[in-house]
């Protein structure tokens, strides 16, 4: 284990979280003993069975929840509250139906500083930026449509744009492609890959899909179930840029298979059910 003076962008040292005081007293933790070191610009994926505390981990990483024990540093700073340098997207796109797509993407700029104070004055410029971003993810021509006029995949693209519009240093994705069909999903993998390659923000991707995690991430972590802890760390050393064809290679298949093995083991041993 490294104990350098934190060259890391994300640095969890021995983080434990119980949801309330009662659970803390009973030693019931949602996640425990999380040690995680992530380089600047690294793309990590977290996989694990459902209900293993992945979403809890996300809340810790964004400062929406404070750890019961341990220390979290992000971008060298201790986390004390919601982290404005991050953007989030979830499985449900949750766009606002009364706003057009471009207005939905602009929403974070109306809230986060420094954009908030000059939003009215610079609206034109920001709108231009939002439109460029939407075009980049293939939503050109749909900017002024309402979300309910878009397909599920398009809504999810808009949702990712909304997470990126304020140029966050860290992007958190909680099963963002879970509800999409296989082809749309692969299309969005490539869009995410291209955005990341271009801007090199940090990504924490929570997913059920092992192929997704191997295709996109630099490092995959396997999480065990209640209590949630990281049990396996797997570096994905596939060369970049990665094309979709890579997912059909032997090497890729082996990695997915190996991870699948870990998940199987976690499911059997990770959750001893008291009788």
């Amino acid at each position: 284990m490294h104990k350098a003076p934190s060259p890391w962008f994300v640095d969890f040292s021995d983080v434990w979280l119980a949801y309330n005081h009662e659970l803390l007293v009973q030693n019931q933790f949602a996640v425990e003993a999380i040690d995680l070191k992530v380089r600047q610009g690294e793309f990590i994926a977290i996989v694990g069975p459902s209900g293993c505390g992945k979403s809890t981990f996300m809340k810790l990483a964004t400062g929406l929840k404070m750890p019961s024990m341990g220390k979290i540093l992000i971008d060298q700073q201790p986390v004390t509250g919601p982290l404005k340098i991050s953007g989030m997207a979830f499985q449900a796109p949750s766009l606002l139906p009364w706003r057009t797509t471009v207005d939905n993407v602009l929403l974070p700029l109306e809230i986060v500083e420094p954009y908030r104070s000059n939003f009215k004055a610079k609206r034109k410029e920001y709108e231009e930026r939002a439109r460029r971003l939407l075009q980049k993810v293939g939503l050109g021509g749909y900017e002024d449509k309402f979300p309910w006029q878009l397909s599920g995949g398009m809504q999810q693209r808009a949702s990712i744009c909304r997470a990126l519009i304020h140029e966050p240093k860290m992007l958190l994705l909680d099963e963002p492609f879970g509800a999409l069909d296989a082809f749309t999903r692969e299309e969005l993998w490539c869009i995410l890959r291209d955005l990341w390659t271009e801007q090199k923000f940090n990504v924490i991707l929570v997913t059920h899909d092992l192929r997704e995690s191997v295709f996109l991430a630099d490092t995959v972590y396997v999480m065990s179930k209640s209590p949630g802890r990281f049990v396996v760390k797997r570096e994905i050393d596939l060369p970049r840029p990665r094309e979709l064809e890579i997912t059909y290679t032997q090497e890729f298949g082996d990695m997915v298979h190996e991870l699948r093995g870990h998940i199987g083991a976690v499911r059997q041993t990770g959750a001893p059910v008291p009788q």
């Binding site: 809340k59 964004t62 400062g63 929406l64 509250g81 919601p82 982290l83 404005k84 991050s86 953007g87 989030m88 997207a89 979830f90 449900a92 949750s94 606002l96 139906p97 009364w98 929403l107 974070p108 109306e110 809230i111 986060v112 500083e113 309402f146 309910w148 909304r162 997470a163 304020h166």
Partner: protein
């Protein structure tokens, strides 16, 4: 066909009513026929118009009060869990009380006239508005709240940017219920505590056995409520069309 269906139904009912009254020679003092109601209406149109105008503006004032108070209370209740827990049970108990029972009390406080009518209309109609605003605000998607909170959004930002627009369809829905209730409140109050208004007209026509006139008064209240209801429907469609997208896409 769908647009005309209410009118067709209305005509059918009126014809049936007229036929029954004529066929069985029902006394006009017991149950007037539509024709009788119409002739009475025409004969007393000036009187009715005066009373109707009074009932209308009194209802509108009470209803306006109900919107202001309902929205404010709904906002408070919907935006704070504590307020929700504290206020809601009491409000439900209050809403269960028959508002007509308040009229004698209001008369003691404000005397015969406009005061009791406005307040009865207000008391009866603010509840649905309050409940709907509160529900709209209290049922935000947690993910969406996280997306905004991560950006440092305050509770207030979330309410203004998301909560309020989201509860607008609920709000318009409640206005349609509340306006009809407000007319009920005004009329009921005027029946015992006013010298003017449709409620007063109903009582005085009834006591002088002018059943045609009494029925004409009822028709006028119903018509006013319906017009206001339709008005809010139109406003609703134009301002919160996004909430009715299913019907638009066919």
């Amino acid at each position: 066909m769908e647009i005309w269906s209410p009118w067709l139904l209305l005509t059918a009912v009126l014809v049936l009513w007229q036929v029954l009254c004529s066929a069985f020679a029902v006394s006009e003092f017991i149950f007037p026929s539509p024709w009788r109601i119409w002739t009475q209406f025409w004969e007393f149109r000036d009187t009715i118009a005066g009373h109707a105008w009074r009932t209308f503006w009194v209802t509108m004032v009470g209803f306006g009060l109900a919107i202001v108070v309902g929205v404010l209370l709904g906002f408070v209740i919907g935006s704070s869990r504590l307020a929700y827990a504290a206020v809601y049970p009491l409000m439900t108990a209050f809403n269960a009380l028959p508002k007509a029972a308040f009229v004698p009390i209001l008369v003691v406080w404000f005397g015969i006239g406009v005061g009791p009518a406005i307040l009865t209309a207000f008391l009866i109609s603010f509840f649905p508005i309050m409940v709907n605003i509160a529900t709209g605000l209290a049922t935000l998607e947690p993910e969406l709240e996280d997306v905004l909170r991560v950006l440092g959004a305050k509770r207030w930002d979330v309410l203004i940017k998301v909560g309020l627009p989201r509860s607008m369809p609920y709000f318009y829905g409640s206005l349609k219920v509340a306006i009809t209730l407000a007319f009920v409140g005004t009329t009921v109050s005027e029946m015992t505590a006013a010298n003017e208004g449709i409620g007063y007209l109903l009582i005085s026509a009834g006591s002088s056995m002018q059943m045609g006139l009494a029925f004409a008064g009822l028709v006028v209240v119903g018509a006013m409520a319906m017009v206001m209801y339709e008005l809010f429907s139109i406003i609703e469609k134009h301002t919160t069309g996004w909430a009715h997208r299913g019907s638009q896409n066919g």
